[in-house]
Symmetry: C2
Amino acid sequence: MKPSASSTSAPAPALDFASVFQRLGPHVAALDACLREQIESFETEIRDMADYCIDTSGKRIRPSLVFLSGWRNETVNPALVKVAAVIELVHLATLVHDDIMDEADIRRGRDTAVRSFGPEAAVLLGDALFAHALHLAAQFPTTEVCSAVAESTRRVCAGEIIQTMRRGTTEISRADYFRVIDLKTAELFRVSCRLGARLAEFSDAFVDAAATYGRQLGIAYQIYDDLADFFGEEARIGKTLGTDLVSGKLTLPLLELGDALPEDERAGLVAELTGQAKPDMARRLGQLQEFAIFERVESEIERQMEIGEEALAPFSDQPPVARLLTLGSTLRAQIAVLRP
Amino acid sequence: MKPSASSTSAPAPALDFASVFQRLGPHVAALDACLREQIESFETEIRDMADYCIDTSGKRIRPSLVFLSGWRNETVNPALVKVAAVIELVHLATLVHDDIMDEADIRRGRDTAVRSFGPEAAVLLGDALFAHALHLAAQFPTTEVCSAVAESTRRVCAGEIIQTMRRGTTEISRADYFRVIDLKTAELFRVSCRLGARLAEFSDAFVDAAATYGRQLGIAYQIYDDLADFFGEEARIGKTLGTDLVSGKLTLPLLELGDALPEDERAGLVAELTGQAKPDMARRLGQLQEFAIFERVESEIERQMEIGEEALAPFSDQPPVARLLTLGSTLRAQIAVLRP
């Protein structure tokens, strides 16, 4: 299973927000220190295992969204560091569980938790990481962070469950696809922006706008990730092309292709997605080019990002806005690299 | 894996606190209504699956501890109902994950979630149940419930991880055994009593005493469960005798037997626990009788319960105390049934 934007066992397409925003350096350093501190909270017998899972080598997209949405100035805000750590711990817990389901051996260049400790311990370790994230969330003066993070986590899980249950079926509409990516990927992007802006004490109107921007960026990012599954240069992004077709996962490029194909050709694609026929990858990749699927999907990504940008438009004088908008530019630049 | 007191796929020994305290009827009815209400909070697509997991047919030991520790009078206290639902949801989430690891097909007379929905969906459903429990916990005015429940959950997971990693090894001391049962079983018993007393606004001293009683009862209950694995009447308790020996789990009856056996006999037991020899169950059951292991373990249970009862002694005028003490009598009666 490859349920969320960065849960593949092979490295996901690079979208290193932290490197784009060099000014985030001190914030990310504080985040890493906070994450390392958390290891002390685990029972001594499982501390080394928790340490292994609390990996600080990831892209830290969600923490970057927290820091940028709550940007007032260069000063590192301890409340933002803590909420970024909470959200990153939830994300790390989902990766531990995803790797069990994917039977993934390698993540970020080293053995996964499931390979190192076995599936039983890995299920429980993911649970323990998630429990600790919520314990950390309960250190805020009010229940707001706990409530928001717990609800978002339930929504992420719901999105992954829906995707899992639908695998290998083709009775999926565009609305179904958008519903799943909204839950499984956009939800944590959204709550990262919302809590970042909120804890930095921006106005409620700006908090809502930042949340909308985060959600739309998450949707756009997931569509980009699904696009890269077919158009990425295999060697560059480190994964095999077309894995979604092989695993029966109906993503936007395939939905667009299904719409574009003549009736008789469509039946062949359905047979491949439902496992009744072996995927003819060369043929499908040729058709993706022939019917200009890249451009169709790219314009959908653009449409989604514009909704987020419009939400921020009335707040152009606020310190986070220019920084948040740069994330969109980064994503557009990444997409340009994929263009066939 | 059989990590906690009532996580076996076969019914655990009956210790139906709710039936003992018939007066808890309205409280348990309110709990069941609250649990059913929670189903509405799940995303529509996964609501039926959540409904399936939010099973109200269990023994509800932990909710009963909440209600009894917070007992003022017959009136149902909504705060106690809510915290009982939170703790029961956490417990149900751990059962969903335990059944995956145990590859259990049946629980409480029907298919497990893992059998009904597959292991991928079951891991995610357990996660979603736990996330929702914490979301519900965040509805209290302060972060106290969230914090306590999240920390207890982490400790339960830690206990189960330690037990999993030690399976099939015999380098386990009595201290190691007590550490594991304190985490995996006594922790949720403890937090149930603590939050029950706290939310009913008893004094801090009584809250501590109730927590100690809950913890000691949990330890006693887990030892009883481990004893029943060897001394229970198979048909009555619905599980096969000696499963802990077969699965290499070193519990108190086996620790006591190891201490009692002469040196040359001990090597055989070690070989069986580490999977180097096939367990000779008839021989071991005979030795458990010969060396009076039941009586040794029973006196340890007694010792643990007395610590809890001593903690409550100064508060004998408080309404929860007589009710809590009846739980100990119930457990003693259950043990008497096992006596060979």
